[in-house]
Symmetry: none
Amino acid sequence: MIEKAVILSTGDELTTGKVVDTNSAFIADGLFALGIRVAAVVKVGDDRDQMLWALRQAQELGDIVIGTGGLGPTADDLTTELVAQLLGVRTKQDDGVAAALKTRFAKRGMAFTANNLKQAVFPEGAVIIANPSGSAPGFRVELGRGKTLLWLSGVPHEMSAMLRESVLPWIVERNGSQSTIHEATFKIHGISESKLDDLVRPLDLGNVAKLSFRAHFPDLTLRLTVNGGAAQTEHFLKLRGQIKNILDDYIYADREVTMEEVVGQLLLNKQQTLAVAESCTGGLISHRITRVAGSSAYFFGAAITYSNAEKIRALGVNPATLDHVGAVSRDTALEMAQGIRQRTGATIGLSVTGVAGPSGGSADKPVGTVWVSICRENFHQARLLNLMVLTDRERIVQGTAQAALNWLRQLLS
Amino acid sequence: MIEKAVILSTGDELTTGKVVDTNSAFIADGLFALGIRVAAVVKVGDDRDQMLWALRQAQELGDIVIGTGGLGPTADDLTTELVAQLLGVRTKQDDGVAAALKTRFAKRGMAFTANNLKQAVFPEGAVIIANPSGSAPGFRVELGRGKTLLWLSGVPHEMSAMLRESVLPWIVERNGSQSTIHEATFKIHGISESKLDDLVRPLDLGNVAKLSFRAHFPDLTLRLTVNGGAAQTEHFLKLRGQIKNILDDYIYADREVTMEEVVGQLLLNKQQTLAVAESCTGGLISHRITRVAGSSAYFFGAAITYSNAEKIRALGVNPATLDHVGAVSRDTALEMAQGIRQRTGATIGLSVTGVAGPSGGSADKPVGTVWVSICRENFHQARLLNLMVLTDRERIVQGTAQAALNWLRQLLS
């Protein structure tokens, strides 16, 4: 039974402060949902002695050790070699992985240099963990005394795919049915993490249910997990229902999905098409919408109008409107949404205009003042977002895009 | 002489994945600038055994230990008690801190409850570290054998103030002037991490210089660090020059800066203005350009044309071009760049059209086929990017944006 884990992150970028390590939080979150306690997270640089020290500590402390990083082709990628040293085994090239690497490179017309073969070398006896999004596979080895080490790529999107597709299912299988977990995920918009915490605090969780929050602005995720298998199904369903009641409109999805995926699906279902006019968001809304594969079925395009002249030229905003009430105003937002809808022929026009800062704010239109408008058949409205609280440019832009997409979602639902 | 540090972060929120730990990266970055190597970063939950284990490991490994968290008034704040246990000393209330706490609470009209006095208790013999932005001060204690432990608040803005105002100055005083480090950063575009590694491998680093790579697609960073103070200046300058020679055109910046910041600065310097026509990148190029504060000085706007109809309407692409050679073609890219330039009046028009996938590819235009075009006075060209190697939609979009911006950078340089 796996109860205690140690997470290892390796790389000089972590011990020199050049990169904030998000991998270990992601892994800890995944383990938490399976009821596994993380005894420690240890980060060391690309240094033989420190890495061996970390491996030995982790082996001592955890039932499982999950490590990331150092699997690449370069000289500072030491993981395989040091794990083999820890285990007292040799390293060995896996011919299947080597062949797959060569094919991968050939397919892309890239030269296959000798150092790339390093990614096909593993400690003897290792089970290979597939990397569906990158070239370097990971591996799993037994550490003795029922302990296991699993090593993944340090590249976040590769790591997350490997964790989800290989590591977590392996843990579930290993821990057997008593570890079946009931799990519900809620994607939240419109309240802060501390407000969310206040709202769900009165819930009677008992000792098998856990709530976890994950705030990665502008995304906020609440997860309910209930351990204990079938005996706890009722408790789980009751809690899930209570959460839905309490949070209600703040929930934009009850599964792990992005806002743009929800909006895209709604546009498809309702046979609507969308065009966007962006000012302060500078293209982020369009970028998010088009991140979804297949979005060309409902997205016509956008005008990013970063000047008054462009608002007039590309969207037909009335120069008098800009003169009288300015670019950041209800009227300008309304005209932008109408303009992009009419010109593109999309059934829905969405517009955004605001002050993202750091400069450009004024007493009556401080940084964070944003107008959003939606224009469709028999509907043409604008809304003021007061995002002063977000303070910095990047967060105001991100928060605006999320709020605009959420409003569109509500209208389509 | 302080050479090696260990950073400890404590708190259940870190081991359950609820919060991404940014404190340790901030501290590591501050130490790196003083030439101090971080041997390890260790994170544990609010748990007696794990915390004591972490303290003992840190005491063993580091010349200094910098810890955060667990100084608050609640029951799960264990730091002071456990550090005293580690040292074999008692804890003791500091009357000055107790009085200051009471004053602080009274000033804010907050009730001073007994548990708040916990924040005035320190291990015997500790030197108090002031907390200019919060209620809980930190402390410094000697660990024996010339080693020192410094403990700070875990609240990021309190921690950073304490680090900057107390910890780093204390280290500088303690280490004297011989602790300077030489550092150079190179931002790279156009080669893979493994190719980069091949190119720099022949460098004669000696034992004080180190190269580290960081790949965060589409960004690739190479950093050279040389320890040893003034005696190593010449060695550092020689290596830096060699790297510049070897990598030459692959280097797009020699400091920690983004591609869009470099391009923005060049546009400003050359008094040029930009407008963009995006198809497969869906707004990402515009979003990146407008992430830079002040970009409205050189960025007019963009047309995101996700359909043929929009390419014709918003950019004036000739329908015959689309009929004969298709949307993903040299001619369409050329017409898009010219169209956006002419219509907006920007001095430079940049366009992108390609197949981001996962569907939409064909035998002669597979997923990853992308055309980029730039149109400015006396210059109107298009380039084919073969990005099949990137395989997934998100990476093709990201890679395209980076390559397009880099071409623009080269033309402006």
